[in-house]
């Protein structure tokens, strides 16, 4: 399973010289194996997901964690949606009030976007998911609702030999005492349990988090604790705050390293980073 990070920034694209290293595009991760492609979230990084036009596989599965703008703003610029030869499946969290089609149409319709969903030339299939298990190509995928404002799911993607967990927007420490040590009471635990690679929200410093509790994101210290409790083997800290420059992110990481001694590998997510899992 080859994992390519196309966008690791949170909230709003922040392209500029100060964010050149970690990247300014919002949430999008590309996964390929055996010629099959998954795209996790459709943030602005989605514009850099390119499909091999010579590939015989004409199907792409897009897995949306939720429908906040930084996770769908790239959808309208994803070329395969405009290719009548392509079959695109979009999976997204169910809501108890409105269909996925209706919620996506809020963005993919005038005045915000000139094209409406029904006019997209590809063969488009929408799937509403909750705590679900489904398969596509070589991937077995588990989704579950996690702590973040509005219907939001995380994903556990199992390929032939490895597991990748995707929790880009997640606040498991929400509450009076932070992350509870009893794993039955931890949001997202089952998705990340023993995973080979955990991609997880780590937007804030501990100080920043104190005044942003309930916003749906994690401080890096909590993310490390979450990874430790789940037994993740490798952690990527992501959803970088748009106000954090490259220099600040590097300082934050150095501070984490200085103050923690976790046995697993952890690093900051960087746009363009490629990771191959066996």
């Amino acid at each position: 399973m080859k994992i390519t990070l196309r966008g690791v920034r949170g909230s709003i694209p922040t392209t500029g010289p100060d964010t050149k290293y970690y990247g300014g595009n919002t949430a999008c991760t590309e996964i390929t194996e055996d010629g099959c492609m998954l795209v996790l979230d459709g943030g602005s990084g989605m514009q850099h997901v390119h499909v091999d036009r010579n590939s015989t596989n004409k199907r792409i599965d897009i897995l949306l964690s939720h429908l906040h703008l930084d996770h769908i703003q790239g959808l309208g610029f994803f070329k395969p949606l405009f290719d009548p030869n392509m079959e695109i499946h979009i999976w997204g969290p169910a809501s108890s009030t409105r269909s996925l089609h209706m919620r996506l149409s809020r963005y993919l319709s005038p005045p915000l976007f000139p094209v409406v969903i029904r006019d997209l030339p590809c063969k488009l299939v929408l799937h509403e998911i909750e705590n679900s298990v489904f398969e596509t190509g070589p991937f077995k995928i588990q989704s579950a609702f996690v702590l973040h404002p509005g219907p939001t799911v995380g994903y556990r993607i199992t390929s032939k030999k490895s597991v990748f967990t995707y929790l880009p927007d997640h606040e498991p420490a929400l509450g009076l005492t932070g992350i509870l040590k009893n794993t039955k009471w931890i949001s997202g635990f089952d998705l990340a349990d023993g995973t080979d690679l955990l991609y997880h929200d780590g937007q804030y410093t501990t100080e920043e988090y104190k005044v942003r509790i309930g916003w749906g994101h994690s401080c890096q210290q909590d993310t490390l604790l979450f990874a430790s409790l789940t037994g993740a083997k490798h952690l990527l800290l992501a959803h970088h705050d748009p106000s954090h420059t490259d220099a600040q992110l590097t300082d934050m990481f150095l501070s984490l390293q200085k103050n923690n001694n976790y046995p697993f590998k952890y690093e900051m997510a960087v746009e363009g980073m490629e990771i191959n899992l066996p």
């Binding site: 169910a94 809501s95 909750e130 609702f145 929400l174 005492t177 039955k184 009471w185 949001s187 997202g188």
Partner: protein, 131 residues
Amino acid sequence: MPAYEIEIILNRQLADCLSIPVFITDTKGNLIYYNEPAEEILGQRYEETGEMPVETWSTVFKPIDESGNVMPPDDLPLVKTLKDCLPYHKTFRIENLMGKSEKISVTSYPIIGRANRFLGAVAIFWKAKEE
């Protein structure tokens, strides 16, 4: 054992922040969490007991109606909520294991999560005014 549904976790986190006794049960009525104020009613600490099967925790105190008769379980708000997934409210007396009697009000509501799934119930207790 798998982690609880997010709606259950959120209810626990809320209960942790409240100064009124809160009990959270699964769909079978097993007590999966109670907060610190609720510990005073049960006379036991959550950290010590952990979760309690319905058979155990339902015997910790005895509900009594206005006439002093023991109330059947089906008349209790939480039991009714578990049965038909609706909120209920009732004021009655309880007698704890020490024989101490108190007038309390109980409000219960079902936890019906996303995709309309019934996941458990919450009961909130507070002392009612003695007339």
